[in-house]
Structures are given as structure tokens and as C-alpha cells.
Assembly symmetry: C2
Homo-oligomer: 351 residues x 2
């Protein structure tokens, strides 16, 4: 059995996993991966068992990020360590883990001609040839090649340093865009390599600039325009206004604390509570693992300030509205309470 055949779209460092288990003398490990890799985990577990002699348990819970690692379930199941696939480490996450956690990210395979064609289109489109390059961890090793290609086409490439939640230069997360912070972006074009519109929208909101997009698998290019960012902001301003009305109407408000290892912002939740106390609004504190509309609906909540995963309030808001729930981020609560001007809108990155 060849690991290549288990995950045909991804590169995973199977040798590295086997080495980590052997070198540390683990006898029993828990293997965890996100939904896109789940189907392959039983075969991968078998390969690792054969390569190490260790017992490999498979974690069957949904998994959404490195913040969501199963270190505590590993301990519960009697494993010596967790092998977490598909995401890179969050260096600033609480290191006080019950068992050692090893992160092995998964890189999507690309066809170079597709990627190059896309990069060529970008270089022909951008207004400034000073290009700031960003990506997610599934494409992180493409950065160097993309940089070289762009430079060969007479562009200058900027790649930002990681912040506390990223493992690599140029990497962005749904909850952190630190890679944009140290860069001089005034006369630069921004390029996000990856899929989906959430990350480039975060970049655009964080920097106030348009963001070019390139899907490195298909080579498709696109853009987060100022108009699209403003449309996004109008929706968020709508939620902030609704939150204000709900608070004034004496609604049932919850401050959500996430229990996942990389989402436990207990102090931020406490700051939100203080803010509501000062303004005389009532609220309850809610603890949750996987945030889901039905769990909040069951508690009868109308308004939820989410200090767990910041992405949920922004990306999944429709599912909450359907349950009659307005969900906002801590930044947005500060705006609703006039502690922060609406013009300073940004994603929630307070870790």
C-alpha cells in the first residue's frame, strides 16, 4: 500500500510521522485529521502501525484546525501522543497539553503549468509589480516557487513574517492575518494563493486594500474588490446594529467561551462581560466545544458574542440568522457599544 494512493490530492510526510513515533518511543498514538482526510485515516493508521509497531487509534470527531487538536482525547484513550494531520502548529497556543502533539500539515498537489498560467495572468493584471504574497498552509511550499516565477516576470515579491498563530512566513489563518502587518503595503498589490473568499476577505478588511486571488490547483484568478469588501462590511454593520437593538430590547445575550485547546479566550470573554456590566446589560456565559446554531437555540439565546473561533460569526452567519440568533465578534461588540468607531472595522484577531 502506497501512501500516495491513500490521499491522491495531498502530500503528507508519512516518513516524518513514522520517524516521530519511533524516535520518541511512543507505543500508542492517536491519529487526527480534518474531514477532507478522514476517509484515508484507517489505511494510513495501518501503514503507521506496520512502520512503527505502535498502536494507532483514529480520532473520529470532526476537526476544523490546529486549534481543534485532540490532545485531551488522546489522553482519555490512553495514547502517549497525538499525531495531528492537515494543519500547522499554532505556536502561541497553550503548550500545557496533556500529551505531546505533533503537527503534520497536508499540502495540496498542484499542476505547475496551471499555477504558472495563473501567476502569469496575475502579473499582467496587477497595478503595482510589488506583490505581497499570502497563502494558507495547504499551499505553503508553493510560496518559494511562486516568488521565483513572479520575480522572473519582473515583479518584486514581499512575504510577511508569521505572528504568534502561524508557523510559516506568508501564512494566513481565518483568525490571524499577522503576515500582512510588518509589510509596507502602500504601493503594493496583494495576492492570496488559495481557495475560498474568506481568507482574502480577511486580508482585504485587515489591510483596507483590494486582494487578488489565485486558486493554485485550477489556476483561476479573481479579486476581492473594494466593492465586495464594502458589501461584506455592510452585512457586518447590519449585525452590529441588530446587536445594539437586541441589547437595548433586553434580549437573552450569551458570551461564548470555546473549550477547544486553541480557542480558549477566557480572559477576552471576561473583558466582554465587564463591558456589558459597565453598560448595564444582562448576559450569560456559555461554554461550548464545536459551535453550532442548534446548541445556542436550545438555550434560548438571541444574541451571542463569540470569543471562540472568530470565523464562525463572519462566515456562517446565515445558519445563525436562520435560528433567530445574531452572532457577533468581540470587535463587533465594542462597535455596538461605541467603544470602537465603525470605521475601524477589522476581523477578530485578539489572541
Amino acid at each position: 500500500m502506497d501512501p500516495e494512493n491513500i490521499f491522491p490530492s495531498f502530500d503528507i510526510d508519512v516518513e516524518g510521522i513514522i520517524t516521530a513515533i519511533a524516535e520518541n518511543g511512543y507505543r500508542k498514538v492517536l491519529l487526527q485529521g480534518p474531514e477532507g482526510l478522514k476517509r484515508g485515516l484507517p489505511l494510513l493508521a495501518e501503514i503507521i502501525e506496520k512502520g512503527t509497531g505502535a498502536r494507532v487509534l483514529i480520532d473520529a470527531e470532526p476537526c476544523f484546525g490546529a486549534c481543534d487538536h485532540a490532545g485531551e482525547r488522546a489522553l482519555a484513550a490512553g495514547a502517549d501522543a497525538l499525531i495531528h494531520l492537515g494543519h500547522s502548529d499554532i505556536p502561541s497556543m497553550d503548550r500545557n497539553m496533556p500529551v505531546p502533539v505533533h503537527f503534520f500539515h497536508a499540502e495540496m498537489k498542484v499542476k505547475w503549468d496551471m499555477l504558472h498560467a495563473g501567476l502569469k495572468k496575475i502579473v499582467e493584471t496587477v497595478s503595482s509589480k510589488r506583490i505581497a504574497l499570502f497563502t494558507t498552509v495547504q499551499h505553503i511550499s508553493l510560496l518559494d516557487q511562486a516568488k521565483r516565477f513572479l520575480e522572473d516576470h519582473s515583479a518584486t515579491v514581499l512575504i510577511g513574517e508569521p505572528g504568534g498563530r502561524e508557523a510559516f512566513p506568508g501564512q494566513v489563518l481565518g483568525c490571524s492575518f499577522s503576515a500582512a502587518e510588518g509589510l509596507e503595503l502602500e504601493n503594493a498589490s496583494l495576492l492570496f494563493m488559495g481557495t475560498g473568499r474568506f481568507h482574502p476577505m480577511g486580508l482585504s478588511t485587515s489591510t483596507g486594500k483590494e486582494v487578488h486571488t489565485l486558486d493554485p490547483v485550477t489556476g483561476a484568478v479573481g479579486k476581492i474588490t473594494t466593492m465586495e469588501r464594502e458589501r461584506f462590511l455592510r452585512k457586518r454593520f447590519g449585525s452590529i446594529q441588530k446587536a445594539r437593538d437586541l441589547l437595548d430590547g433586553g434580549c437573552m445575550t450569551g458570551i461564548l467561551i470555546g473549550s477547544k485547546p486553541g480557542q480558549r479566550r477566557v480572559e477576552l470573554a471576561s473583558d466582554m462581560a465587564d463591558l456589558l456590566d459597565v453598560k448595564g446589560y444582562d448576559y450569560r456565559m456559555i461554554v461550548m466545544d464545536s459551535v453550532a446554531p442548534m446548541k445556542l437555540f436550545t438555550l434560548g439565546l438571541d444574541l451571542v458574542i463569540n470569543t471562540a473561533c472568530p470565523r464562525i460569526a463572519l462566515d456562517d452567519s446565515v445558519s445563525y440568522v436562520r435560528q433567530g440568533i445574531v452572532m457577533i465578534t468581540p470587535v463587533e461588540l465594542r462597535m455596538a457599544l461605541d467603544e470602537l468607531p465603525w470605521s475601524e472595522y477589522r476581523f477578530d484577531e485578539e489572541w
Copy 2:
């Protein structure tokens, strides 16, 4: 605000909760309850906050039993203790908890005339007036009154001692029927006071006897007949036979380990693995918190030996069959592998 109005169908010892928090000097507690009590938790949290000055966080995850307590989420959210509503303690459960856990069960309110009318029907129906009485924790304080009523109607009442998983005499759980074990049942009639057919079916399977049922809220009486028990057994034998065929056909088999505090049967899972090893069958070890069909389907499993909550394989089997998955208990695996005769069928109570 009166706690009576928060949970109109239940009696909960709110004063006891307040005393426990005050006596232990807790400053921050996590409050957890099952789905039936969830809606009332925000108001109850407010009452407790006013009565103690402590901060009360509400756990929003689904909750299915004392085995499923949120001691670890309490720690994650920075709470000093967990207040668990709706279930009684499982004394034999791992005491190595990250924070102290206080259990307060909830008793369903009954109308005595309904209950008495039901008991009268029972006493007129039973073949033997030696009545062994069983119930679940929601009705536990009715046992004494029911016993007196039956004795006043010339019956003799037997109430069994709790085993390691029960807190009270006469109590049964979906995963333990120890209260039947010490009793001389040969010439006795069995009576289960409660709702649903799962617990009395377990009693019937465990004792090999018919079980009378009485819903203490409505007064409705019924019976688990030998025929109904045999129909249940035929279904389980069907699953055991299917498991045997699947194993022989080289199916994808999983041994499921539960990560909930009262469901962590790591050694039993290891015994199941040894059994499959000896017989030359392949399998993977799977770790899960809330057991759900889709999580097993995603991993591509055909057959699952569930060492987590025993009730799931028996009570929810249809949901698993729909996903093309056969789920069996450890007892049933032993039968499938001819380690235990099918005539000795019993519920999974190996804790």
C-alpha cells in the same frame, strides 16, 4: 423568579446547589444539564449567581448522562467546579477528575392519584405478589411511596442494592441492571417504574423474566412480554450473524473507544482487539466523544464494536443500519466469534 417556574415538570434541589457552591467557596462554576433541562439553564444560572456571588458558566454541549459530565470543559473554561444536573453520580466512574463534580439529579413531578391508580392496576395484574421494584433516577424518590402503597395492597416489595454505577437502591441505568442481581427473583413479579421500553427490556434480558411497566406520570401500565424480548433478541441475533459474515468477508472493522469520562473502557477495547487478533481478523481502533453514524460512515467503517455507551448499539441500531454500518456490543462480538453461547445473551454491563 421562582425555580419552580423554570422547570415546571421537575424538582431540582436549587438550595443544595447554592449551599455546595458557598460551602466550597467556588468563585466560578460550570453548570451542565441534559437536553430536557437546557432551556431553563440561563435562568437557573442567574438564580445561582444571585444566591452565591459566584460566576456561573453554562455548558451548551448535548448531555446524555452522568457518564457524559463536562469536568474537562469546566477546567478548560477556568471554572473551579462542575454542577451537573439531571443525573446521579456513577460511583465507580474514574474519580481522577480535573475539577470537583457535583451531581444533582432532577425528579419528574407526578400526580399521586395517577401513580396510585397505576400501582393498583399492577397489583391486580401481577401473577406473584412478591414484586421487585426498579426505576430510573428521575423517579427515584417515588420508590418508598410506591413500596408502601404496594405493601398496603398486600404485596411484598423487593428493592435491590445498587452496583458500582448506580447511586440509589432500585435504580437501573441503560448500561447497568445491578439492582436485579442480588434479588431472589424466581417467584417474583418485576415492575419497572419509568418511561420508554429500553430499561425494562434490559431488565427482562438481564433476568430472563417478563417485566411490568408503569409510567408514573401518566399512570399507564404495560409489559415486556417474553414474546417482545424474543423479538428483540432475534434482531440482535441478526446483527451478530451479520457481524460474523462481515468479518469473514474482510470488512472494515472498528473498535470504538469512548472519550466521555464515564465511557472510557480502554481495557475492554484492548480485549476486543486481542480477540480479533487471535481469530486473524483485521480492525482499526477508533476514538470518539459523542457516538454518531455519520462520523463512522466518514471513516468508511462497515462493522463497529462499541465499547463506549452500550445503549447506542441496541437502541439506535436503525440509524447505523441506514448508513450501512452494523454496530454490536462487546458481548455480541464474543457471540459472533463463538466465545460465548448465543443462549447467554445479555446487555453489555462490563464496567
